[in-house]
Every structure is written in structure tokens, then in C-alpha cells.
Symmetry: C2
Subunit: 342 residues, 2 copies
């Protein structure tokens, strides 16, 4: 069908520039060995005709598409409401653009669409993939492995060994959580609760583990499961106040959860931090600064993690080796940022 719309050919460029097709091709494909005045004439002809190089033909030579897919294992509605994803994409976009690679974001409505995503990855449209927000029971990692494209994961993948291996970038979720809970202990709090993220994600499971590392055996009613969203944080905080009215601190699994928890504490007339201290995780701005009071939280450099994922993948592609082998993780440190809530 693309034939139906006429498109200037390389032959037309060569004719207009008054050079051979081979010379025009060398210039268009960035090759050397063409004299500057000829290069200039070809460039002008390309501009005047609005010539776009045929990527498919070029790929046959270079074996590269200069394009990288990004797959976020969440429905598109969440991608556009959780600032975490925008930050990670910002880092990825900056790095890919700096190396003149096209960012190809594959959006889905949900898990049912993951087989289609894998088909696209297998279809020879991208050189590699950056994949994040995986869930334990999601077939996506297996599908992606089947697609056979080099992949870097954001967050430690949760599946276990076997032939499977993965390159990933993560932050120190467990250590960051330990810092947060230790800080609450240091404030003299004794009834410290945790509102978890979705426990089918390693980030949430690791933060819960960090809480347990410091707290040891606690009243099980102090741990409430939630889902990384503000409304989930509201529900969990309500439940927590009903079950344990004497709660005096909350470590929320991320900032959006903390945002919801703060709303409910305010509605129920609890003063923060006097009655209940609150700590989040992520330091997504402007959310964390604009909560009332401003949120104490565990900072991870989300944009930098995105950049690192892209850099790892591109260097693998440039070396020409698959991004597999022994599981390799890059784990970035976290920092406790003290504001007003704890």
C-alpha cells in the first residue's frame, strides 16, 4: 500500500545531484570517501526532494534498525498517571536520542495484549527491548525471551534461575526500606505499620523484606497490602486505623501510596507527624514536595535508572553480543530525604 503514495527514490536524488547512484548511496548512508562538493550536492538534493532513506533496505546492510522498544507491563492508563513511568521514560528517551536511536513505546490495555507485544518484538522492528514493571505471574518475560531480542529489565526480575538469565537495573529497595524503618524507630515510634505495594513485584516484596529486617516479628495487623496507587493507599490507611488505632508511624511502599494515606489521616483528624509519622518511597516530584505536610521519603534516581538501562542495552548492541549470560544486576543506592512527615 505504501506504493500508492509516491516517494522520491535514491535514483532521483542521484539524478538531481548529478552523481552516480553509488555515490548518492554512500552519502546517504554516512559512508566516507566522497569529495565534499559532491557530498554537499547530494545533501541539497535530499533536502529539495524530501528524500527519506529506505530504512528496510538500509537495515539489510547494517542489520540495525536504530530503534529500541520500551515495554511497561502495565495498562496505558497507569503509565500516564504514575509519575514513576514518566521519569524512567525521560531517562531512556534522553539516552536513546543522544545515540540517535528511536524510542518505540509499545502500549497495551493489559496483560491480554502481551502476546501481541512479543510478536512485534520478534518481527524485526527493533534492535532490543527495555522492559519494566514486571509481575511474577506475567507470561511477558517468557514471551520476550521467545522473541529473541536483547533485553534489559528495569527492576530485578522475579522468576527463578534455570536457563533464564537477565540483565537488569534496580535500586536498593531492601536497604532503602531498612533506612526508612530505622529512622522511624529512631524517632521513638513503636507501632510502625507498612502499607505494601503489589507483592507480585520484586520492588514491593523487597521493601516489605526491608521492613521485616528491622522490625522482626510484629503484630501482623500492622502490614496491609496495597497496590502503589493513591486510592489504594487511602483504602489501606483506613483499614489500618480501624484495626490498629494506636498506630504511630507508617512506611508506605511508594509516594503515591503515602499521598493516599496522608489524605485519610487528615480526614480522621490525626496530626502528621505528631500522632502518626509517614515515610514514602521514590521521591517522585512534584508529588513528594507538594503533599501536606511535605513528604519524608526514600529517594531513588529513577531518571538515571532509565538512562542506565538504555546505556547497557546500546553497549551490548554495539559489542554485538546478546544481553544474556550470567544474571547481571546493577543496583543503585537510595537516600532518605527528610521533609516534614517524619
Amino acid at each position: 500500500m505504501s506504493e500508492a503514495v509516491s516517494r522520491p527514490t535514491l535514483e532521483a536524488v542521484a539524478a538531481r545531484a548529478g552523481v552516480s547512484r553509488a555515490t548518492a548511496s554512500r552519502v546517504v548512508n554516512g559512508g566516507d570517501g566522497v569529495r565534499e562538493p559532491l557530498v554537499e550536492r547530494v545533501r541539497r538534493a535530499v533536502e529539495e526532494l524530501g528524500y527519506v532513506p529506505n530504512q528496510a533496505a538500509r537495515s539489510l546492510v547494517t542489520k540495525r534498525h536504530d530503534a529500541v522498544a520500551v515495554v511497561i507491563a502495565e495498562p496505558e492508563t497507569r503509565i500516564f498517571t504514575d509519575p514513576f513511568f514518566a521519569l524512567q521514560l525521560r531517562g531512556i528517551s534522553k539516552e536513546l536520542t543522544a545515540q540517535d536511536n528511536q524510542l518505540v513505546l509499545l502500549l497495551t490495555e493489559g496483560r491480554d495484549d502481551h502476546a501481541r507485544v512479543a510478536r512485534y518484538l520478534a518481527g524485526g522492528h527493533v534492535d532490543g527491548a527495555l522492559v519494566f514493571s514486571l509481575h511474577l505471574d506475567d507470561p511477558l518475560p517468557g514471551l520476550i525471551e521467545g522473541a529473541g531480542v536483547p533485553t534489559v529489565f528495569g527492576g530485578r526480575p522475579g522468576w527463578s534461575g534455570g536457563s533464564k538469565s537477565a540483565v537488569y537495573v534496580d535500586c536498593d529497595n531492601r536497604g532503602g526500606a531498612e533506612d526508612a524503618v530505622r529512622h522511624l524507630v529512631g524517632l521513638g515510634r513503636t507501632r510502625i505499620a507498612h502499607i505494601t505495594g503489589p507483592l507480585d513485584q520484586t520492588s514491593a516484596a523487597d521493601r516489605l523484606q526491608g521492613y521485616r529486617d528491622v522490625m522482626g516479628e510484629t503484630d501482623p495487623r500492622l502490614v496491609v497490602a496495597s497496590d502503589f496507587t493513591p486510592s489504594g493507599g487511602e483504602r489501606a490507611m483506613g483499614e489500618l486505623l480501624d484495626r490498629c488505632p494506636d498506630v504511630d508511624a507508617v512506611f508506605a511502599a511508594n509516594d503515591l501510596t503515602a499521598l493516599g494515606a496522608l489524605r485519610v489521616l487528615r480526614e480522621r483528624g490525626r496530626r502528621v507527624p505528631e500522632d502518626v509519622a509517614v515515610i514514602g518511597f521514590d521521591d517522585v516530584l512534584p508529588v513528594a514536595e507538594q503533599t501536606e505536610p511535605a513528604l519524608t521519603t526514600v529517594r531513588q534516581d529513577i531518571e538515571e535508572m532509565g538512562r542506565l538501562m538504555a546505556r547497557l542495552l546500546l553497549s551490548t548492541l554495539n559489542r554485538g553480543e546478546p544481553a544474556t549470560g550470567a544474571p547481571t544486576g546493577v543496583v543503585l543506592p537510595t537516600t532518605l530525604i527528610r521533609r516534614a512527615t517524619a
Copy 2:
């Protein structure tokens, strides 16, 4: 490079299912004429091996990738901060997913990346493109035409006739603006200002035209140029109050601009709507409902516009005709939504 990672072949599927390669191929490609027990065996083998059909090979037969590119002519930072884009993408995503097409969002850092986007479009990775937020001096429309893929535009493209033609979906920007300004006149306001959007976009130019249709010749100081962002709305409102302290109404080119204007009016001690009435455009939620006071605005059904763009493109692809010819626009009506600011 994808060879480096082993991937189950169709032959392996056929062997595991105990059928011929041709039979396995027919099942995988959705063809008929295979007995149900054999279909079942092939499906099980596909699942057990984690086989992913080779889309490139399949495309050779169907000439389709079942993938549609979305290009938004804005840097990715704006795409993730202006809810307009999330809403339009939601409509597009729902429609493409319902027809089992992959949404391929091509992100950029800015205009310098548009040639790379055009190369990707020309590279045989998608069946068509949905393009929105065009600017008048942007080379993107020409580049996209050169790429030769069927395209539907969001918003009336601003370039003039010639051989160029375009299928587009838009809302009645001019009529909606007229309604807003007429409403302000009906409230007895006489010093009605307009804060424009970026006038290199037809949506902003058409809304300014609607303002002029009703107001005729006005004090030129009552029209201030801005850029569809909250900070732009703040700057413009500040300028407006300095130039025309007697302003008694503002028609803002979109809701985010109105949001910024409301902040400055509050800071400067002007009561809304008593001293200054304010109307926005778009009705992006929750923004428009959560301003203080809640925003009166001109509603356009942004999600439906996204759906319609996708539907128009897919029906063109299904008919096998290029989405070009005489310029064809679908223009949806707007509705004035009265809340508290006017």
C-alpha cells in the same frame, strides 16, 4: 544478532505436535482447513515451547504488521504533563487494541528528531500513522508524506493546498470559542481578554478567530499570546493585569492556561467570577473540576477523537486504499460546561 538467542522454530512446533510443517503453519497463521484435534495439538506445542510466530515472515504474506505508529509533535516531557495527550492516546489505544493492532508510540526529545521518526515510518515497521499536535513550521508533515504511510491527523493540518491533502479529526475550535465568548458577553462583561495558545497550531489560531468573531475590533492589549501550559497562563495573566487592570473576563485557550491564570488572579486578590470571569477549553479532568473555583470550560471529547482517528485509519487500511485524496475532515461539536468561574 537475534540469532544468538535460540528461539523455538515452527519445525520444532510441528515435530512436538506430530504434524507436518505445513499444518503447523496453517494453524499458527489462523488458516482454516485443519481438523480440531490437530489444531489443539499444535496450540499445545506452541504454548509448551513458548513459540512466537515470526512476524516478518508472516508480513511477507499478509503485507500487514498489525501495528500503527502514533507521533505527537511535542517533546516527551510535554506528552507526560499535558492530560490532553493521555486522553487522546487512551481513545487510540482502546480502538487499536479492540482490532488487535499494536500501538507504537514514537517518542522524541524535540523537532530535531523528526527526521529519525520519518525514517522509522518509512522502514516498513507499521501499517500507518496517527499524527497530532502539528506546528505550522514543522517539517514533520512533509517528512511523513515522504515516508509513504497512510496517515490520519489529529487536528486540522495548517499547511496550504497544493498536492498535499490530509485526512483529519478535529473539534469545532472556532465555534466552541464563539460560544465561550458569547457566554461572557451574556454575563454583561465588557473587558473580555483572550490568552491564546501557540499560534503556529491551528487549534489555537481557530480559537483566537472565534474570539474575534464575537468581539470584533477590540483593544489589542486584551489579547496575550501564550503556549497551552500552566506557567504560560500565569505569565500571560500577570501581563494582562498589568496592561489592563480593568479586565473583567478571560477566555483562556485551554484548561491548563486557565489553571495558571486562576492562580495569578488569586494571588493578586481578584475574586473569580465576581471581579474576573474565566472560561477554559478542553474540559480535561480532573483538572477542570478541581480548580478553585471549578472551571467553566468548552468541552471537546478528546478520547472519542482518538478513537475516531484510529477507526478512520484502520478502515482505510482494510479497504486497501491510501488515506489521501481530497482533504477530508471530521469535525466534532463542542459543548460549554458551566461550573463556577463564569
